[in-house]
């Protein structure tokens, strides 16, 4: 399949899925921002109202972390099951198997565009101002997207080969939620530990980068960001090649497992 046809098809699949999804609900597209807001609301009730253990700035801190994390976790969870869920199509057409997770991640990108817009507006309304550091949002988002695609391809391949990976991915997302500083600030740890968390957990680095840019006005460590981008970019390329070579095998696994 020519590359241009591949990307057009991916885009149409994503748009159609969004349209189908919106038509199922009374509130339609409003759910794009309502769902993540409800997530933030739930955590706010638990951590601020019930436990009362956080500072005044906790809501913007939580919003930026949680909304960025949800993009990552939801995209990967859904994309991981995409080949298996699309086995009706897998058995009928010979298309690259990457198309299924890619369309799912692309769908998430459209949703996230609305969520980010809402998040930026909230941050501004809350009294934070636009600084020169905001220019760094673009590379951070690009690296985040590359990270999501690479992980989504790994997840989709793994679940296709053994369904057992599906619950493990869900568990992995829960683990990442607690270890990536969604509810707590990596920078509150002692410096050595903070450095270790940021070095070992790329997602913690990404969430911290969003917060540093939007809430503190400091650009991220670009060297670190580029190394994450290069690492996941390489993983993405490897996965595309692997899935291309294993296309028939993945189809057989999707159809017969």
């Amino acid at each position: 399949m020519p590359l241009s046809q591949y990307f057009r098809l991916m885009d149409v699949m994503a748009r159609m899925a969004l349209r189908a999804d919106a038509s199922r609900f009374f509130l339609g597209y409003i759910w794009w921002v309502l769902e993540p807001l409800l997530w933030v609301g739930v955590f706010y009730v638990v951590f601020v109202i019930i436990l009362g253990s956080r500072s005044e700035d906790f809501l913007p801190f939580l919003m930026v972390g949680k909304l960025s994390f949800v993009w990552f976790s939801k995209s990967i969870t859904q994309a991981s099951n995409s080949i298996v869920a699309g086995k009706g199509l897998v058995g009928k057409i010979n298309v690259p198997k990457t198309l299924f997770p890619m369309a799912m991640v692309h769908e998430g990108l459209y949703r996230q565009a609305a969520v980010f817009l809402m998040m930026f507006l909230y941050v501004l309304i809350d009294g934070y101002s636009v600084t020169s550091a905001w220019f760094y949002l673009l590379p951070v988002m690009v690296v985040n997207y590359v990270m999501i695609i690479a992980c989504a391809l790994v997840g989709a391949c793994a679940v296709c080969m053994a369904r057992d990976f599906s619950p493990l991915i869900g568990l992995g997302m829960m683990f990442l939620m607690f270890t990536s500083g969604v509810f707590w600030n990596v920078r509150d740890l002692d410096p050595a530990k903070a450095e270790m968390v940021l070095a070992l957990n790329p997602l913690a680095f990404m969430l911290d980068a969003y917060r540093q840019i939007l809430l503190v006005g400091i650009p991220p460590d670009m060297g670190h960001l580029l190394s994450i981008g290069a690492g996941f970019g390489a993983l993405l390329c490897v996965m595309v090649l692997v899935m291309r070579r294993a296309s028939h095998y993945l189809a057989l696994k999707a159809l017969t497992a």
Partner: protein
């Protein structure tokens, strides 16, 4: 031109396909779907594939379309030729309109967005859906859904058309229309492999037929002969 003189479009050479079923389940083990199947398809030929459920007919088409690869043996498609499986309900989303679903189905079958959009009016007309074409497919009756699916599938233009059981659609009037449309496609230079349980249609559309049983070819020859032998076996 004699059949042998025509160009070979597709060839299955001692093709077998097997896979392992899930471990630690009651049905664990190796499942052999096709065993040493060989056949040749020539340009402009209409080849029928018949057999009971589960004998490997759809798998044969999937191998020809390049969706699956054989465990052993070779599938050879003539250089520069494309083979595509024509099948009903390609990824239909019930919440989307007939128009959206038809667009998606056409693109999944290899059309560009422009080509797919150009097909939409023809699809709306042939499927006889009228204003329902703009409504969500979840509101369609089974017959309307089949008509949309058949028409969207019919728009595919490939060198080798692999047809999997798609003529049993809609009411009697639409079935006749569908059969005629398919006959028009086949009587041209279109190369076709046609899988169906409807032996009358196989006889009407195909020059040659292979009969599969337990993943193996048990008979191959002129459509009338093979279909009659199969019908006799089935009714025994």
């Amino acid at each position: 031109m004699s059949n042998e003189a025509r160009k070979v479009m597709l060839e299955l050479d001692s093709v077998s396909l097997s896979y392992h079923t899930g471990k630690k389940t009651f049905d664990a083990g190796k499942h052999r779907v096709l065993n040493n199947v060989s056949l040749t398809l020539r340009e402009g030929e209409a080849l029928g594939v018949i057999g009971r459920n589960g004998v490997g007919k759809t798998t044969t088409l999937r191998l020809m379309a390049g969706i699956l690869a054989p465990t052993s043996g070779r599938v050879k498609v003539a250089s520069g030729k494309s083979a595509s499986l024509l099948t009903l309900g390609l990824g239909f989303k019930p919440d989307l309109s007939g128009r959206d679903n038809a667009l998606l189905a056409a693109m999944l079958q290899g059309s560009s967005r422009k080509q797919a959009e150009a097909f939409l009016d023809d699809i709306a007309e042939f499927s006889e859906l009228g204003e329902s074409f703009e409504l969500p497919v979840k509101n369609y009756s089974a017959g309307m859904r089949s008509r949309l699916a058949f028409t969207a599938a019919l728009m595919t233009h490939v060198d080798i058309l692999l047809i999997d059981e798609i003529l049993s659609v809609g009411d009697a009037q639409f079935r006749t229309k569908a059969l005629n449309a398919m006959q028009n496609r086949i009587t041209g230079e279109q190369t076709v492999v046609f899988v169906s349980h409807m032996t009358d249609q196989v006889k009407a559309l195909c020059d040659r037929v292979i009969w599969l049983e337990h993943g193996e070819v048990v008979a191959e020859g002129p459509a009338d002969e093979v279909v009659d032998a199969y019908a006799e076996q089935v009714t025994k």
